[in-house]
């Protein structure tokens, strides 16, 4: 079980690996598309990598609800519970 801080740090690492964005730019209130300029293909790559890292399953229909980094952290945290 990872804490929310650990999930955020792990996500930031995945986003950095995929897009080159600095990990500290990946903050809870940032929108993946608006603020971080992440396209749908990168988003799916991030989702798949997050599933492996955190041992959770993020259903495809759920991905469109993950608008901000915070949404993703909350979903992963809930899925781990």
């Amino acid at each position: 079980m990872a804490s929310n801080e650990e999930i955020l740090a792990g996500l930031a690492e995945i986003v950095n690996e995929e897009t080159g964005l600095a990990p500290e730019a990946v903050e809870l209130d940032k929108s993946f598309t608006e603020d971080l300029d992440i396209d749908s293909i990168s988003m799916m790559t991030i989702v798949v990598n997050a599933e492996e890292k955190f041992g959770v399953r993020i259903p495809d229909e759920e991905v469109k609800n993950l608008k901000t980094v915070g949404d993703a952290v909350d979903f992963i945290s809930g899925a781990q519970a």
Binding site: G20, T45, V48, E52
Partner: protein, 411 residues
């Protein structure tokens, strides 16, 4: 009046140099890019061939990690060569609707395809990444080059095995002559030094087995040739309508005077032993460029170093050039860098353009006992080409019976 098309930019990343100046220096010196493969998969799969000619400069030394992640290795090489050629052309402003791309590959994203297949088997469908399709598609390299340059006059991918890179120039010439574009980024890219293609080419007895001496394995025209050496890399050329180039005061390397593509319709892999398809291609390129046999001073031959392939090319050259073939300086540059498959025609076109521009023919290495059935005048140490108006030809032939020829004229 046919539009005249000139070459104004060159780029390459190859087993004998990661950029054009380095490649050219080595091509005149005569070096081998073939080396023993250190990868664990050579032993793991008991591959019969233990060597290949890898690019001297890894793509990650040139591209950023994030950029490279979205490209198959073949596309990485293509984008590197295209960027060098674009910078070399000095074009700073262009109407994107007048800039076309014709960027070839023989095999396409084979690393991506097979990695994804491994992932599917080992980890299941969820782990097959969403970039897999755009990375493995054969047009991936043309698409990436088009995106990189903002080229909007069409992005094409000729696929004709080892003739692909040359066919890209044939297409580029047409696009400009027919008025569909003013500038075309043409080239070829390949990255197939992967155990599966090595096993497959071995299985058809196409590859040299000289495992104890890779540097001497690629030996076109030599009696002891026993197959080609797999290479990788990319070549790129900026083709430009002459009036467009003159208007911006561009440095012009040479004229792409004529091109041709023919098909053998003889056998799926074996070349026509009479070289009839190749002869028609040579004659068609010369006709297209209004070239007489006596104008031709240099040929960059396809010459892959296979026992069956090298001779029909001689037969074709003799048929197309007549007795003048004796006066032509022939270079077999695959002796140095191996066979870059779909990229070979593009890289060899770069060398041919430089040969005409610098008036020097590059070196054929490893020719110790020339096959008496191929009495060509083979260039074994860098040789000066004559002054005055000259023409050089570059041939490429591919599995499937594809023949392609480009003719470069001095300016």
């Amino acid at each position: 009046m046919t539009r005249k098309v000139v070459i104004t930019g060159l780029g390459a990343t190859t087993p004998i140099g990661g950029d054009v100046p380095t490649m050219w220096q080595n091509a005149l010196k005569g070096v081998s890019g073939a080396h023993t493969l250190e990868d664990d998969w050579v032993a793991k799969y008991e591959l019969p061939v233990h060597f290949a000619a890898r690019c001297t400069t890894p793509a990650l030394d040139v591209l950023s990690r994030v950029e490279a992640k979205r490209m198959d290795p073949s596309t990485q090489f293509g984008v590197i060569a295209s960027r060098e050629a674009w910078a070399d052309s000095g074009i700073t402003e262009i109407d994107p609707d007048r800039l076309a791309v014709a960027f070839a590959t023989g095999i396409g994203g084979v690393w991506t395809l097979l990695d994804a297949w491994d992932t599917l088997k080992e980890k299941g469908p969820r782990r097959v990444l969403p970039m897999t399709v755009p990375m493995l598609m054969p047009n991936g390299v043309a698409a990436a080059v088009s995106l990189d340059l903002g080229a909007r006059a069409g992005a094409h991918t000729p696929v004709s095995a080892c003739a692909s890179g040359t066919e890209a120039m044939h297409l580029g010439l047409d696009l400009i002559r027919s008025g569909k574009a003013d500038v075309a980024m043409c080239g070829g890219a390949e990255a197939a030094i992967h155990p599966m293609p090595l096993a497959a080419f071995s299985s058809m007895q196409a590859l040299s087995r000289r495992n104890d001496d890779p540097e001497h394995a690629s030996r076109p025209y030599d009696l002891d040739r026993d197959g080609f050496v797999m290479g990788e890399g990319a070549g790129a050329l900026v083709l430009e309508a002459e009036e467009h180039a003159l208007a911006r005061g561009a440095r012009i390397y040479g004229e792409l005077a004529g091109t041709s593509v023919t098909a053998d319709a003889y056998h799926i892999t074996a070349p026509d032993p009479q070289g009839l398809g190749a002869t028609r291609a040579l004659k068609a390129a010369m006709f297209d460029g209004r070239i007489q046999a006596e104008d031709v001073v240099h040929v960059n031959a396809h010459a892959t170093s296979t026992p069956v392939g090298d001779k029909p090319e001689y037969t074709a050259l003799k048929a197309a050039l007549g007795n003048h073939v004796e006066n032509v300086a022939v270079s077999a540059t695959k002796s140095q860098m191996g066979h870059l498959l779909g990229a070979s025609g593009a890289v060899e076109a770069v060398l041919t353009v430089l040969a005409v521009h610098e008036r020097m023919a590059p070196v054929t290495i490893n020719l110790e006992n020339q096959d008496p059935e191929i009495p060509l005048d083979v260039v074994t140490s860098a040789r000066a080409l004559p002054a005055g108006d000259i023409v050089a030809l570059s041939n490429s032939f591919g599995f499937g019976g594809h023949n392609a020829v480009v003719a470069i004229r001095s300016v």
